[in-house]
């Protein structure tokens, strides 16, 4: 590597130790903020921190440069203690242009580090962001924040001046300058980023050199420039020993399926139609054809679920994935799987709605759709992962339940879990629970709707099995024989049987883990991707001696058998959700408990500070 950017040896600057930090990189869609954020995450992971991330990007593929709606950002919190969320308010914000400045500055804590690329604040960009004058010229800015104007464009250009690259190509390296600088500010190791650059540009050695130079130039700038008086260390977190990797929710769902296919030796047929934010599951699975995975990019959402159902009928594990709008289209198909009593796994990666809504933003508003969004009495099992890494276990568990009970299982992930990542302790796959697959081959006494007394599951028969030829379908059928039946009593019996089958999945649910005292003032009940924000808020209240606890539901239908008892051990029940009150409605209906919702539907994860305040309000209101 060239040494044209010399690291001047100066007196070492003081290093202050923090327990945690929240950083956001923000810029134009074309500024490489996602790569920068992901790479910084890897550096923090190397340093042994616990981490939570929040990528946030526009729905437009190439949003016009410099516009407010074209801003892309990546936020992460890393710490030496347990990190539950990407953080509410920012300790440091790196902004590459006026639009990013305008959109993100309100989230920076007073006194926070603000690193700005001033060369992007020209008239054109200021106009696009709606600024009449340059906000960097406001003296109040430097008083409120620790403002650092770093000409990243110019400095990157200078570091690369002797390189045979075009001006545009050089400019594209400035995100690595930013990364180098922030890596210095937080004393994160550069090694993983150096490796990643070499891998990423393996075929273009000149890009490898340019980006490494930019990275090192940024790092050296932090070390030598007079503007940074100190930098920060964040010690390794106390985490369970083992080997870790960074895991996003979508990849974890995909890999959970691979693990289920490997354990059962039954292929997974995955039908999907591209939709944000679920498409990455299809992409990931399509890479792994060696793992008993067959992917089917269907002509539409309906064909995607239909293909999965056809595969399940054929004795494979049928899985489909989508987001809310696609799940709506799949409803009739899911109903067929309910009545045909076939195993089917449906991933719903929730996003803002209704209709197209906010495709790249997160929401938790499909719970009612999952529970009731089909015609007639059409119960399915509903589960929700709590963290990105939990998606792996949920996917595996969904397959296990679907096969054991011959029932559709809906998994409610969301945009935040799907794209967010956390350090994930890699499990020993041998320790995953067994998934029993017993295809019926015995002809004696066979009926298509003969039921297992414990689970009420009907037999799973692979076509091709001699002597078990049979017909199933969407028309109501007589129990046991499976023959078409319009008999009123039989229909009532079948409606109850299908519901009872789902209810019996309750016997699979482990006791809820209560975070906090077993009785007290306030119980916070959550589900899905709000786990981190709720836990952080509850632990903050507990640290102040408040009698607050939380439980987090991974099973939403059936509900955990011990939930009703737990709810009654607290004076008040608070249910934070990114919807206008869906689980809270279920809990009130199911348990006649006066649960109260805390609801924000902004397309963003809930802020733990807001939940903390809601807890306090509830505690005060009681008095």
């Amino acid at each position: 590597m060239s040494d044209s950017v010399a690291t001047t040896q100066t007196a070492r600057k003081p290093r202050r130790t923090l327990t945690r930090a929240v950083i956001r990189f923000a810029g134009d869609s074309g500024d490489g903020m996602q790569v920068t954020g992901e790479q910084f995450t890897t550096e923090a992971a190397w340093a042994g921190n616990d981490i939570s991330t929040l990528p946030n990007f526009p729905a437009e593929i190439r949003a016009p440069a410099g516009t407010l709606f074209g801003v892309s950002s990546f936020q992460l919190q890393f710490g030496s203690q347990r990190v539950y969320t990407p953080g509410d308010k920012l300790d440091a914000l790196v902004v590459m242009n006026p639009a990013a400045f305008k959109v993100h500055l309100p989230d920076l804590k007073p006194g926070g580090i603000l690193i700005v690329n001033p060369s992007a604040f020209d008239k054109r960009n200021l106009d696009k962001a709606g600024y009449a004058s340059n906000p960097l010229e406001d003296p109040a800015l430097g008083e409120k924040y620790r403002l650092h104007l770093v000409d990243m464009e110019g400095l990157t250009k200078k570091a690369l001046e002797d390189m045979p690259l075009g001006a545009k190509e050089k400019d594209r390296c400035k995100n690595f300058f930013a990364l180098g600088l922030v890596s210095w500010v937080y004393t994160r190791p550069l090694e993983p980023t150096l490796d990643a650059i070499k891998k990423r540009f393996a075929k273009r050695p000149e890009f490898v050199e340019a980006n490494i130079r930019a990275l090192k130039a940024g790092h050296a700038f932090g070390e030598t420039a007079e503007m940074f008086a100190e930098h920060y260390g964040v010690e390794p977190a106390e985490m369970a020993p083992g080997t870790y990797r960074s895991m996003t929710g979508n990849r974890a769902l995909a890999w959970g399926l691979l693990a289920a296919a490997e354990r059962t030796q039954v292929p997974v047929v995955f039908g999907a139609y591209p939709i944000t934010p679920a498409s990455d599951i299809l992409h990931e699975l399509a890479l792994h054809k060696r793992f008993r995975i067959r992917t089917f990019q269907a002509e539409d959402e309906i064909a995607a679920v239909a293909g999965a159902i056809g595969a399940s009928f054929g004795g494979c594990i049928g899985v489909t994935a989508s987001s809310g709008p696609g799940i709506a289209l799949k409803g009739e198909g899911i109903g067929l799987a309910v009545t045909a009593e076939l195993p089917l796994v449906i991933f719903d990666i929730q996003r803002g709605g209704p209709s197209t809504g906010l495709p790249t933003k997160t929401e938790q508003a499909d719970l009612m759709q999952a529970l009731y969004g089909r015609n007639s009495e059409s119960p399915v099992v509903v589960m929700a992962p709590a963290t990105p890494g939990d998606c792996f276990y949920i996917a595996y568990e969904a397959v296990r339940i679907a096969i054991k009970y011959m029932v559709p299982v809906m998994v409610l992930s969301d945009g935040y879990l799907a794209n967010g990542s956390e350090p994930w302790l890699i499990p020993d796959v041998k320790t995953l629970p067994d998934i029993a697959v017993g295809f019926r081959t015995e002809t004696e006494g066979f009926f298509p709707y003969l039921r297992d007394p414990a689970t009420l599951a009907r037999p799973w028969v692979r076509p091709g099995t001699p002597g078990l030829e049979h017909r199933i379908g969407g028309i109501e059928k007589q129990d046991v024989t499976g023959n078409i039946s319009y008999d009123p009593e039989n229909h009532d019996h079948m409606v109850r049987t299908r519901a009872e089958k789902v209810r019996r999945v309750g016997q699979e649910i482990p006791p809820l883990s209560i975070n906090g005292p077993a009785t007290g003032e306030v119980l916070v009940v959550g589900w899905g991707g709000t786990y981190g924000a709720i836990t952080a808020a509850v632990e903050e209240a507990q640290a102040e001696g408040k009698a607050v606890a939380s439980v987090h539901l991974r099973y939403l239908n059936p509900l955990p058998p011990d939930l009703g008892h737990i709810l009654r051990q607290y004076r008040r029940v608070l249910v934070p959700e990114i919807n206008s009150g869906q689980l809270v409605r279920v809990l009130r209906a199911e348990y006649l408990v006066d649960a109260v919702g805390f609801n924000r539907v902004r397309g963003l994860p809930l802020a733990s500070q807001d939940i903390y305040e809601a807890i306090n309000q509830m505690l005060e209101a009681k008095r």
């Binding site: 890897t42 042994g48 985490m239 870790y244 039908g271 239909a306 056809g310 595969a311 099995t465 049979h470």
Partner: protein, 343 residues
């Protein structure tokens, strides 16, 4: 009920009866579906496929009750989606022989999209589309194959939309086998069913079928002994396209891409259009022909064998991936890429 068993491993010698299920058939008396059911059951023993390896999949409509009456594996699914369900099944289990039974409403209206895609993908399924030009199960609304101006319950002043030709649709979608037959011509129907079932790839058969309750004699022109002679053109590979009574034979010649009806006696035989099943281009021209200006073709429009099926390509990719890198190992995958140790 049970088939006579042959040598171990060999396909049993079946009879038609082996393919009759124990369910009461619930179509209206006189429905054309009875003849189709009988023909299909009769064709099954000739396929040489074990009964347990045969699956019938259907959507919704009168035709879609079909699987219940076949003593094979069967799945009566949801409206229009049978082709998609069959695609998933074939991807899961390429070795199964899969039939899709659909109708003009199920296949060309609500399920038109899936029919398009199962055909263009060349999934190895045999699709039987019963075309009676009416919605029977919902009691008599016009269908996407009903003629313009059709008076029905939902169109008391006549339908305003023009019909689609199922065979033209299938050919345009790239189907590798397309044929048309008639519920009242048992011998021809059986021949078409056999040829379609023997085709590897997406095979599409339009069966003109009579709904004697809501659209009786929709195909009367082909039922009536006298008019049949005047209008029915039998497609035969390698033979000139001729029809009509012996004393007044008519033939087709191609002028550029435009077909023209001629008196056979007036042109040299070498000028007559000779049917070529392997040419999808001329098949598309043929599929557009209809009375009164042209004859109504029955038979195989196109039959192109040897084209890779969707599921074969998928399985080949899978096998290639395994042969190059070995079967997947999840424990190894989890440890791949960037990992770090704690403790």
């Amino acid at each position: 009920m049970s088939p006579a068993t042959g040598a171990p491993g060999a396909t049993p010698k079946y009879t038609k009866k082996d393919f009759e299920s124990d369910q009461d058939v619930r179509w209206c008396p006189g429905c054309g579906d009875y003849a189709i059911l009988s023909a299909v059951q009769k064709t099954m023993p000739d396929l040489g496929i074990p009964r347990e390896d045969i699956v019938f999949i259907s959507g919704i409509g009168c035709s879609s009750r079909f699987p219940y009456y076949m003593n094979t594996y069967g799945f009566h699914t949801i409206h229009g989606r049978a082709p998609a369900i069959a695609t998933g099944l074939k991807l899961a289990r390429p070795e199964l022989k899969v039939f899709v039974v659909t109708g003009d409403g199920d296949g060309l209206s609500i399920g038109g999209n899936h029919l398009l895609h199962v055909l263009r993908r060349n999934v190895d399924v045999t699709i039987l589309l019963f075309n009676n030009r009416i919605y029977g199960l919902t009691k008599g609304q016009y269908s996407p194959t009903s003629e313009l101006g059709k008076v029905t319950k939902s169109t008391p002043l006549g339908s305003a939309d023009r019909p689609v030709s199922p065979c033209s649709f299938a050919l345009a979608a790239g189907a590798t086998f397309v044929a048309r037959t008639l519920d009242r011509n048992i011998a021809h129907m059986e021949e078409m069913l056999k040829r379609a079932a023997a085709h590897k790839g997406a095979a599409f058969v339009e069966i003109l079928q009579n709904c004697n309750v809501y659209n009786d004699m929709a195909w009367g022109m082909l039922y009536d002994r006298e008019s049949k002679v005047l209008h029915e053109l039998r497609l035969q590979h390698g033979k000139p396209l001729v029809w009509g009574p012996a004393e007044d034979r008519r033939g087709l010649v191609l002028e550029g891409v435009k077909p023209k009806v001629v008196k056979v006696a007036d042109v040299p035989e070498s000028q007559l259009w000779v049917h070529n099943e392997t040419d999808p281009g001329t098949a598309a021209v043929l599929a557009h022909l209809w009375a009164p200006d042209y004859p109504i073709p029955l038979g195989v429009f196109t039959n192109r064998s040897g084209e890779a099926t969707y599921e074969d390509i998928c399985i080949q990719q899978e096998q290639k991936a395994i042969s190059e890198r070995g079967p997947g190992d999840v424990a190894k995958l989890l440890m791949s890429g960037d990992t770090w140790k704690i403790g």
